[in-house]
Symmetry: C2
């Protein structure tokens, strides 16, 4: 038994049985050990951004971390952007990053780099596995850290000699101690209740697991009974949505719209959320989106038991147990366009109408899919996963990981074209693993968000340099060809009729497929 075997055993004993991997030479002993453990599902990605994004999507749905296997500093570096998204989502993740044998690091070989230094900005916790005998403890500690609510990014560095060295004695895995979420304080509950009772406009601002079905249901009951407003954070790890769930809006992305949405609020009550801030700063616009005079009260932080906190608040407010939760006052118009121009709005309407029950919807639609949130309020119940940290290129990997976690559910990516290109290699993993992933590429052939932002900075007429940095034309990307190149069936559509038909086909298909929607 060498260190690599001990590492595999330790991961498996802690219920970590999926490893998204892109290994290299320094990890060969670990690969050999994984090869001796068929219980570990190893999923290859052809680029490390796919690996870390898939681990994020997997953990969002499986409610436990996956392992990643990355090759030295540069392999880790390639995975950082989606680790950043996972860090902002507070998704649990355990990265195993190979490094040179400890005696080799001093020689500045070509692949030598500061692995700790690379890991730290995007990790909550970093540890070098210095000796094979301590691997059991190291893994248990990583699992405890990763699983600590709301979730943490843990990076374990595996020197090649730690992997290849034989242990002196057979070693047993160490089991991580489970950590329950702490309950919020009675004072916090009283303060929130007092604010709601004050008669001045109060808002329950929900984040993290307060956006899951059970917690939302209670928030909706409080809303019904107390006429308190409810609102979700703008960027969401996972939310329960659809007709049988309590409907809730997200905080709008544009600063002006967000400020307008919050303008009336006198008491902003945080439930697993943070006080809302602008995504970007702009000259003469605020960073903090709530009105200056609003009182900010923390009912419970994301580290705490949010469902309990909402229950306790409902009790404190005297919400009768049989109060029905909030629902939309009247059914929304679910008619859909059957002809006319294909655009993001039409796609959102049609997708919402035909969304299968229990879909996992991965949203990296950026500018073109914003209408989906509105039209899908009464869609079939589904889980909604979103780009969280603003590092575009999460969508396709996240869908890949979610599909590994939920083999019996349809996973649909509502995906901007520019963003999809960052980690386009995910399509190959979807094909290799025969994942039930349907990708809808919203092909507007530009970085449309940036066109809007250029107008925001006062540029109304783009010159050649700006066009060359903002437009994805000359040549147009051919998404059907890209998908076929990676083994994913694909079709290009440019009308409402052909999109509707392609969606129908895609929803019936087993395995991955892609719709390139020209809008």
């Amino acid at each position: 038994m060498n260190g690599a075997d001990y590492l595999c055993d330790s991961l498996l004993a802690n219920q970590i049985d999926v490893c998204f991997a892109n290994p290299g030479t320094s990890e060969m002993h670990f690969v050999a050990a994984l090869d001796r453990k068929p219980q570990m599902r190893c999923v290859l990605g052809l680029f490390e951004g796919v690996i870390t994004g898939a681990a994020d999507g997997y953990a969002r749905m499986a409610e436990k971390p996956a392992a990643t296997l990355l090759h030295l500093g540069p392999g880790l570096a390639n995975g950082l952007a989606n680790m950043h998204n996972a860090k902002k989502a507070r998704t649990p993740m355990i990265n195993v990053v190979g490094d040179h044998a400890s005696h080799h690091s001093c020689y500045d070989a070509p692949l030598t780099s500061d692995v700790e230094g690379i890991a730290r900005p995007m990790s909550h916790w970093v540890k070098r596995m210095a000796t094979p005998a301590a691997i059991g403890q190291d893994v248990a500690q990583a699992v405890e850290q990763a699983s600590q609510a709301p979730g943490n990014i843990c990076t374990l560095i595996l020197p090649a000699d730690t992997a290849w060295t034989e242990l002196e004695h057979q070693a047993e895995p160490v089991l991580a101690k489970p950590a329950a979420r702490q309950q919020t304080s009675a004072d916090a509950i009283k303060a929130a209740a007092k604010a709601i009772r004050s008669g001045k406009p109060a808002l329950l601002f929900l984040g993290d697991v307060a956006l899951r079905e059970d917690a939302l249901e209670i928030a909706g009951r409080i809303r019904q009974h107390c006429q308190v407003d409810i609102l979700a954070e703008g960027f969401i790890r996972r939310m329960s949505r659809g007709a049988t769930r309590t409907p809730i809006e997200k905080l709008p992305y544009p600063v002006d719209a967000a400020c307008a949405r919050l303008a009336h609020v006198k008491h902003l009550i945080l439930v697993g959320s943070k006080a809302p801030v602008a995504f970007f700063a702009y000259p003469n616009k605020p960073s903090l989106l709530a009105p200056n005079e609003a009182e900010i009260i923390t009912l419970a932080s994301a580290e705490q038991d949010l469902t309990h906190a909402l229950h306790a608040l409902a009790d404190e407010l005297g919400v009768p147990a049989n109060t029905p939760s909030y629902r939309l006052p009247e059914p929304r118009d679910t008619s859909i366009p059957t002809n006319g121009t294909l655009n993001g709005k039409a796609i959102s309407q049609i997708l919402a109408k035909y969304l299968p029950e229990n879909t996992v919807l991965c949203d990296e639609s950026i500018s073109e899919g914003r209408d989906f949130m509105r039209y899908s309020l009464q869609a079939a119940p589904h889980d909604y996963l979103q780009l969280t940290g603003g590092a575009i290129g999460l969508g396709l990997p996240m869908a890949t990981g979610a599909a590994i976690a939920c083999p019996d559910r349809k996973v649909i990516s509502l995906q901007a074209d520019g963003s999809a290109m960052y980690t386009v290699q995910a399509l190959w993993t979807q094909a290799r693993e025969s994942l039930n992933c349907l990708t809808i590429i919203l092909a507007n052939r530009s970085y449309a968000t940036l066109h809007g932002e250029m107008r925001n900075v006062g540029v109304t007429q783009l010159g050649s340099n700006a066009k060359r940095m903002l437009d994805l034309d000359l040549p147009y990307l051919q998404w059907t060809q890209l998908a076929h190149g990676m083994g994913v069936p694909a079709v290009k559509v440019d009308s409402i009729e052909t999109f509707t038909q392609a969606l129908s086909n895609g929803l019936q298909a087993q395995g991955p497929c892609l719709i390139e929607a020209l809008i």
Copy 2:
């Protein structure tokens, strides 16, 4: 004039007139400023690894840095792997990384991260441009640092408010002071000469610009006159090769072969190189490749004037000025196979035979293209650029940047399939810019190097997990479709006849094209 304008002016005044860019919202003022400066050539990449790899290839050929434009921490993170390669190559590079406005950084917005922390492991020099008025000095300092021989990676962080703030007074660019390479010492020259005269086997071990035509010519004259061995470092930024140049081998990659190549050496003389170390460590194999008893002498370091050092050494050794440089003792057999199985060796032979004069050859062929070095010793004169830091995914971006630097030369990528996938988005930039890039994909459909490394760790029979991490099958990548998807004409070949024809067509083509060679 705002800070962004001043930054553009400062770059242009310092002859930095190419910017490889992937901007985001926080860089919109800089994009607007670039739009006002058509002298700056802005080249969009659809993923940041393309940007930094292209900046590397550009600087290797243009002998001056390009600028990159990257979007906050995650955009920088996506560019790190190819910054790593450039750092190991000692290529000059100036990264401009946007960041949040300084007053916004404290709010932990979704895209907030530790930009300095992300930059440092792959940069030689990092500076935050804190005030618009200091931008001129900041840029001059960055250019000086980047251009300091042998070359450095400099990262300038541009807070959005530094970019958007109007300067109080019109500001002039500050010009970087040119820094000449220092000459090596007389003692170093005498020590190297003494070692060569000792009669014991000595080796001139050449790196950096000692591998350019003029320096190689002198090394070859010393070899001819003194019977001293010459050898190139294993991983090379740029080397002058072909029939009219002094032929030189590279140090082999496998540890055993490298040790065997150096076994006879008693005096290892470094000329812009470092003492040779193993690429990876293996159990019971050495990290240092030269024999323990070999004396290591530095004639000149990469910071110094290597051509002068070799001239001075030749003078010290009394090499007559008219000594012809070393050439191969007899013409190599340049016959090529005309039928039979297509493999890396056949491709190497055929490519070497038909290589156009003045080609820029970008080598990321990993396992399958190793024969090219041997067969191309008497090919038409060409420049050879190689993956330097072991972070695969440099090849296609490097070719892209080299073609921007050398619009009148053919750029050929000899490219492994697994490695090409990491930064496959480079093909789109080649199409967009109509670059004269011919890509030969050596499609062995596996991480073939890792199969060899698995045998090295004693695994002869792969199980399912290992196969799933090492083989690029199920599904096969279809490179012609991937290329067509990004606007690059492509053809798939599987025989010597069809490869030879495709190569002939590709060499005549203007603009990019790709040959998928099934081997």
